[in-house]
Symmetry: none
Subunit: 209 residues, 4 copies
DNA sequence: CCGTAACCGAGACGGTACGTCTCGTCTTGGA
DNA sequence: TCCAAGACGAGACGTACCGTCTCGGTTACGG
């Protein structure tokens, strides 16, 4: 039996001195996230400053820099915290996959149209698009459970014979949501209920047995 | 005595003093756009500053503020100029719509994978996503001609009976490109030739007569 | 004839980019010096901050950093400006060197005792003691003319036969003023008129023919 | 009815919670003083921080704040400890007051010229000049014994008839040392052996019978 | 053909925010 | 209870850029 290697870490190099999470002030964390949500709504993401967050939260700037890498990570956490409270996602399953998908996509369209959601969601998306590490966290903590719920609904339709057994469900999800997302993000066209319906109809045509 | 005339003039209001485009220095314009392209490649969009552009271009800051609204518009123009040089877009038409689309999407995948293109294209996309006015310009001057070429190829396939006569070609384009775009922008999955092929196959299934 | 050498400069090395004094804003300069004098009086030298000076003066911080090396140099200039306005110094010459010196030293004692002068003069002295470059400027621009006036009074006494012809007048000045200065700076003893008188009497004993 | 008692209590007032000196860790005290001496030499007094002292000494910051009022008092103690080890001061007494004083002043000049002493002594002096309480401590614990030794040498010269019986010895000491001190502190002139000699000669002229 | 009015490079200005540093206080866990 | 350790609110540091505002210099009309 060979001895367990003690330290396989290839690059310690004068450790960057991480803070101790056990001693973190929960009160400060909440204050920062709350202030961030308020300020994003008030002045928008681009004009958001760490200075302003600290002031609004009644917190020292160092406390923010100690626990977050960048403005983007703070904003991300601020909305992540909100979403995680929201709890599990359940999609409707009436047995009619077309009707159910239309309902879900119309709901998504409505969400994108709500100006109160629009600004922060856009900010969050830009942040994610520009930072691979945030993107990874986003996928794991926010997108994954939602996607799984959507995939499950498609699987149910498969079992009901409404979708081909050999369909690639991940690709199917992308076909459903990416056009919506792109229209919204780049404002390349109107986002309406009719559009959502047409989208669902086209995609289902590709998926039916 | 006649009443003092109210100022019903709806527009001038201490005119904002537009510069005279006729006297604009072409040399300065080119220097700014060139310096901008260099700097975006070197330091990325987020760390790009007007100050640095002016210094690199050997140009006064005022010259930039005189002719561009914001950092975003400069970057936009810098890449617009490049693309417009590229000239008209023509898509292959071998008569086989599936093969042609696969070739085009694989080319797009390759472009997204090229790290030299990646950074500035991403920067440009973030800028467009965050600024509706830039988005409009982008659609008119860059996206429109390319989209028209793509639509024309689909129309040709329609005439050849490879695509249903009543298909919505705009939606078809979105179904083809949006999933690719989303994967790239949010890094939600690998971008490979196989993926492009599968995408084309699925979408065509929805479009065939 | 040999060609004129183009560049004999031995150490250019990415020049530190000096600002152009010709374009300096006199209004800003005055505002900074004024604000500095006010703040030194109000909060003392130790608690004086560049930030506060800039705010009080209605000036950007960079404007201070552009023209002054350190907090010390600003304070120095602030009081230098005051003193230089004061104009030429003239010492009394009644013909009685002892009486005149007593009067002058008593005046100095009174100045040191005045709390309005005390704080800033002490701040200035600490700054000078800690920064050789400031010390040099202080000697040239403030101390030199005053010292020359004092030396001239002693020379006049020499001509009148009240002081030895071969006396070292610079040393004489130090003997007169250094004890006073030391008592004040280190608070090693009471500063009174009697002390000034005793000092003059002792020093004159060393200087008389 | 008796009058409400006035609070004649001169001290407690919501007691400031003094630590118990008996339980003080000698190891910590030494570590702090040692680290302080090192750091003053390395970075100078102005850039010295409590934070850095604590880190270098391997001591909690609170331990410093518990036992010292300010950065100045720590520095002061650090050098005080050094000097007190040095033990009693004895001045030479060859019977020739002029030769003896010249030797002593030349030694002082040499000390001031030594760059290893220069920096910390200057730091200490600035601190004393800016803090009356430190100044008092300095006089009692450091200056007093040295001054007494010097005064004793002058008294001995008085007994020997080399100095007038009615001379003010305290003033004499100031006449001897203040010029030296001032030249050093403000760098107003060269500090040489010749200067020390000239100083002694002038002062003695004022003191002789 | 000669002002004179624009653009131009340059860069100082009043500001905002950055990210770091240190202050002096407070909290935790170990001896 | 003291200590090492270090998180905390606070706020100054010195730097980077912002967008505006002069400065001279240099075109390029238009009287």
């Amino acid at each position: 039996m060979s001895p367990a290697p003690r330290n396989t870490d290839p690059a310690p190099e004068t450790a960057p001195k991480r803070p101790d999470p056990a001693r973190r002030s929960e009160r400060s964390r909440q204050a920062v996230l709350g202030a961030t949500r308020e300020l994003v709504s008030e002045v928008g993401y681009a004009k958001l400053s760490i200075e302003a967050i600290a002031a609004r939260a009644g917190v020292g700037k160092q406390t923010i820099y100690r626990w977050w890498r960048s403005k983007g990570t703070v904003v991300f956490d601020a909305f992540l915290a909100l979403s995680e409270e929201a709890g599990g996602v359940v999609l409707p399953d009436t047995g009619d996959i077309e009707a159910d998908l239309k309902a879900v996509l119309r709901a998504t369209v409505a969400e994108f149209a709500d100006p109160a959601f629009e600004a922060p969601i856009r900010a969050l998306n830009l942040e994610i698009a520009g930072d691979p590490e945030l993107a990874a966290q986003y996928r794991e903590r926010l997108a994954a459970p939602v996607d799984e719920a959507k995939r499950e609904r498609l699987r149910s339709a498969q079992r009901a014979g409404q979708i081909r057994a050999d369909a690639d469900l991940d690709l199917a999800l992308e076909l459903l949501y990416a056009p919506l997302y792109q229209r919204w993000l780049l404002r390349t066209g109107p986002l309406t209920g009719e559009y959502a319906d047409a989208l669902v109809e086209h995609v289902l045509r590709a998926l039916r047995p």
